[in-house]
């Protein structure tokens, strides 16, 4: 009896500027295998389905338990993490492609810098440094902590940006990921001291208002983060901020 194999059709690209092409691979089946273990097999023995020697396929990975976000790629048309993509649950042939919303480095590896730049832009942190001990911060209500915790599960994987129709080369929209982090850090009692600054940043070019409510992000988020609720909540916050900026006098 012939050995059971799994067929992969992988969209490859040799460098940042070269044209993509498809290459097929047949990988021996093992029970419980995931996309990454199949890619590792290809890496050990880089021979394509035609039996020709080829370069090993490259991809990013780190934690292997769906908390780091590094191994995201488009699997059978859907962006998701390759570590938690079990071969038994996928239709074959399995098609792999890089998330083209991001610049492709090589094969399935993409440059996710724009999301980290966006986090810096919106100041997705809580400033606590000082020249003296500032003492303990204000306490956070438990109920608020519970929903804020959900937002903190974001692993900057990029799936929401890949799914969003308004994040593309024609638009400068920063995407759902940094926006939800603004809601998270504005919810924190100490982070709230810089609330207006974060809101004003996302009221700038490429900010919040670019959302077109397709809600693909919330449907695609592997962590189940309520991204569209965050966006709607920020819509209200920025409405109030805009009125305060124009009509109000007490700024903070």
């Amino acid at each position: 009896m012939a050995e059971k194999t799994v067929k992969f059709i992988i969209q490859r690209q040799d460098n940042e500027n070269s044209a993509p092409y498809e290459e097929e691979f047949e990988v021996p089946y093992r029970p419980g295998m995931n996309v990454i273990s199949a890619l590792m097999t290809v890496q050990r023995n880089p021979v394509n389905a035609k039996g020709q020697a080829t370069s090993p396929v490259t991809w990013d990975m780190n934690c292997l338990e769906e908390v780091c976000g590094a191994c995201s790629m488009v699997i059978n048309g859907k962006p998701r993490q390759s570590c938690s993509a079990l071969v038994d649950q996928l239709e074959q042939p399995i098609r792999l492609a890089p998330m083209r919303t991001f610049p492709v480095v090589r094969d399935l590896q993409v440059d996710r810098s724009r999301m980290f730049d966006a986090l810096k832009k919106v100041k997705a942190w809580i400033p606590i440094d000082g020249t003296y001990d500032l003492g303990p911060g204000p306490r956070m209500p438990e109920k608020k902590r519970q929903w804020a915790y959900e937002l903190s599960k974001c692993m900057t994987c990029g799936v929401c940006l890949e799914a969003c129709p308004n994040v593309n080369s024609k638009s400068n929209f920063i995407g759902p990921q940094p926006l939800s982090q603004v809601r998270l850090f504005n919810a924190h009692p100490t982070g709230a001291m810089n609330k207006a600054e974060r809101l004003e940043t996302i009221m700038g070019e490429g900010g919040l208002a670019n959302c077109g409510n397709s809600q693909n992000c919330v449907q695609s988020c592997p962590k189940g983060i309520p991204l569209t609720t965050s966006i709607a909540a920020l819509n209200r916050e920025t409405t109030i901020q805009a009125f305060r900026n124009f009509f109000g006098s007490d700024q903070d």
């Binding site: 129709p165 593309n168 900010g207 077109g212 309520p226 909540a233 819509n235 805009a242």
Partner: protein, 202 residues
């Protein structure tokens, strides 16, 4: 406010779609519904509307300027999207696409509609029951009006949904779901009004 121009433009776009353009659509559909009461009722209503004091000011401020901004900025919004319903076939993503398609159809329809009625009136044609009867006697134009009116109504109803989200009124998934049912009911009811009126002319 220079840094906030995009934010301001987007919010203005959202607001103008409802006030005044959405309100004008409601008023326009209502007044035209007089056609179902016969020729005289329609002509009387059309005369009243057409002879309102400060008509040109009203038309410019309430209709032309907001519509022009909404249309031009809307085209920009529509063409900066990269639609992906084939990969993400969720309900809201379809609505996102249909909102953009109906927006473009509505713009084409309204351009033609204004040309055929208001511009024609400026050159001396009289806007009355007879005019609409002549236009709608062609099956092709009748179909065009059906598609145009349904597009405009859908674009308004679904736009009302996104208006509620964009201004931060509906935040929770539940409120957004209920406002979907509400706005789709608005679409169905206004469509009945629009189609009934069209049928009155044939």
């Amino acid at each position: 406010m220079a840094g906030n121009r995009e934010f301001f433009n987007r919010r203005l776009h959202s607001l103008l779609g409802v006030i005044p353009i959405g309100l004008f659509l409601l008023q326009h559909l209502t007044v035209n519904h007089f056609a179902t009461d016969g020729v005289d009722a329609f002509n009387k209503a059309a005369n009243f509307m057409g002879n309102l004091p400060f008509r040109y000011v009203l038309e410019t401020v309430v209709i032309y300027l907001p519509l022009l901004f909404h249309a031009i900025y809307g085209l920009y919004i529509a063409f900066t999207a990269k639609n992906n319903v084939s990969r993400f076939g969720h309900f809201r993503n379809w609505m996102f696409l249909v909102q953009r398609i109906t927006g473009v159809i509505t713009l084409i329809f309204i351009t033609w509609h204004v040309w055929e009625t208001r511009v024609a009136a400026a050159f001396g044609a009289e806007v009355n029951f007879q005019m609409m009867q002549d236009i709608l006697s062609s099956p092709l134009m009748f179909a065009f009006y059906v598609v145009g009116i349904l597009s405009a109504i859908f674009h308004f109803a679904n736009g009302l949904w996104s208006f509620l989200v964009s201004w931060g009124i509906t935040q929770s998934p539940r409120s957004q779901a209920i406002s979907t049912y509400f706005t789709m009911a608005v679409f169905v009811l206004l469509s009945i009004v629009g189609i009934q009126t069209l049928l009155a002319f044939v």
